[in-house]
């Protein structure tokens, strides 16, 4: 062949409007999986430093003036942290629901409903996330 034209992969995300349900499910699953890993490490970082501090003076812990309690309370009083917590819940719920869907797909169960089960995961995630908002936002001042 003399010459040919390689349209490359760049167009791929350019045609996101044409992505199918299964493609979105894959993208979201990857995204949420790696978000959870990212959270896991920040979580370990916060706790491993705070726990050391918590082992301090029992009297301070009693009065809630120890480093651990004040750090956590300080974080929890921030509006942005509450919002991020709602986001974390959404990410985890979607990952779990779609993870169950993928488990079924791997077992060859209900393959013809794979798109519907993806939409169901999305809707359920939305409902659970919205339902959680009052709990997460309780008592926070902006």
């Amino acid at each position: 062949m003399s010459q040919s034209y390689n349209r490359g992969l760049i167009e791929d995300f350019g045609r996101w409007k044409e992505f199918s349900a299964g493609m979105w499910a894959w993208i979201f699953h990857k995204f949420t999986g790696w978000m959870l890993i990212g959270y896991l490490f920040t979580h370990i970082a916060v706790l491993s430093t705070a726990i050391g501090a918590a082992a301090g003076d029992p009297a301070a812990i009693q009065q809630e003036t120890d480093v651990y309690t004040t750090t956590i309370q300080g974080l929890e009083s921030l509006f942005i942290i509450r919002v991020l917590e709602v986001g974390l819940l959404a990410v985890a719920v979607f990952h779990i629901l779609n993870g169950l869907r993928l488990l079924m797909v791997d077992l060859g169960v209900g393959l013809s409903a794979q798109d519907k089960s993806f939409y169901a995961s999305l809707v359920l995630t939305g409902i659970i996330t919205i339902a959680s908002v009052p709990t997460f936002m309780d008592g926070v001042t902006i």
């Binding site: 040919s4 034209y5 894959w26 393959l111």
Partner: protein
């Protein structure tokens, strides 16, 4: 009845019902109208076409007109240099898979009346474009041949000229997988194949399935076939996005077959007795 049907049959039934609805689209709306086509053009040998562009064609609509009919009209009446592959015009030869309005479809199996206008017609994505709508199929054919797409059997039946008989059940099992017409629509739709040039791809894995599930082949040959598909760029690359299954013009449940081969491969490797 639902419980007694295989997932394949269920899927087919649903698809047929969907099709029946689509056919109900009123074609008379388009009667006497012209159809607006936007066709991808590229030719490395012609100045002015070396940079890909889209050409507009306005083709008179006729009842039952397919995408292939429309581009043939455009070629015959407006621009004889418009290039695309076609042969059978009845979804048998696999020559004319195009990217029509953002989906891999056979030109000859896609009704113009079912498409939004302007109808955007491009060569298959993720394949090198040779000219206009023609893509380089070599890589796709290489992947097909990599799975040894032919019947293999050491022993011949006893009687002279006797057929290699297959049970009805076994024939049913492989029925859908035998339908592939090598059009490469599935390969073109697959995200993973786009990113991994060595991935066997849905069509080749389906072809491996067609023979691995054929009981007339010996166990050793089945094992050999599983060894081919379970390698690094084989079945495990599939991320179950179902893109291939969505576009296959022959309704082959490709993802289902890939998943079944994954399970077969696991079973083979877990088996220690």
């Amino acid at each position: 009845m639902r419980g007694t049907e295989s997932p394949q049959q269920e899927r087919l039934k649903e698809k047929e019902q969907g099709l029946a609805q689509e056919e109900a689209v009123d074609e008379s709306d388009l009667e006497g109208e012209t159809v607006h086509l936007k066709v991808f053009r590229y030719d490395p040998e012609v100045e002015g076409k070396q940079e890909p562009r889209f050409d507009d064609f306005y083709v008179p609509f006729e009842k039952g007109m397919t995408v292939l009919d429309a581009v043939m009209y455009a070629r015959d009446e407006f621009d004889s240099s418009l290039t695309f592959r076609h042969s059978c015009r009845q979804a048998v030869c696999g020559s004319d898979a195009f990217f029509v309005n953002g989906k891999q479809q056979l030109g000859c199996k896609t009704q113009i009346s079912e498409l939004k206008q302007p109808v955007r017609i491009e060569p298959l994505p993720h394949q090198e474009v040779v000219k206009d709508l023609v893509v380089d199929m070599d890589h796709f054919y290489d992947q097909m041949h990599a799975v040894e797409p032919y019947f293999q059997q050491e022993e011949l039946p006893d009687g002279d000229l006797e057929e290699q008989r297959q049970s009805r059940e076994n024939r049913e099992k492989v029925k859908m997988s035998t339908r592939c017409i090598w059009c490469a629509a599935c390969m073109s739709s697959c995200n993973i194949a786009a990113g991994d040039n060595e991935y066997l791809g849905p069509a080749a894995i389906n072809k491996a399935y067609r023979f691995a599930m054929d009981e007339r082949e010996d166990d050793e040959i089945k094992e050999h076939r599983l060894r081919i598909v379970e390698q690094e760029h084989g079945v495990w690359r599939c991320q179950t996005q179902f893109s291939c299954t969505d576009v296959c013009p022959k309704d082959i449940p490709l993802t289902e077959h890939i998943q079944e081969l994954k399970r077969e491969a696991v079973k083979k490797n877990l088996k220690f007795w």
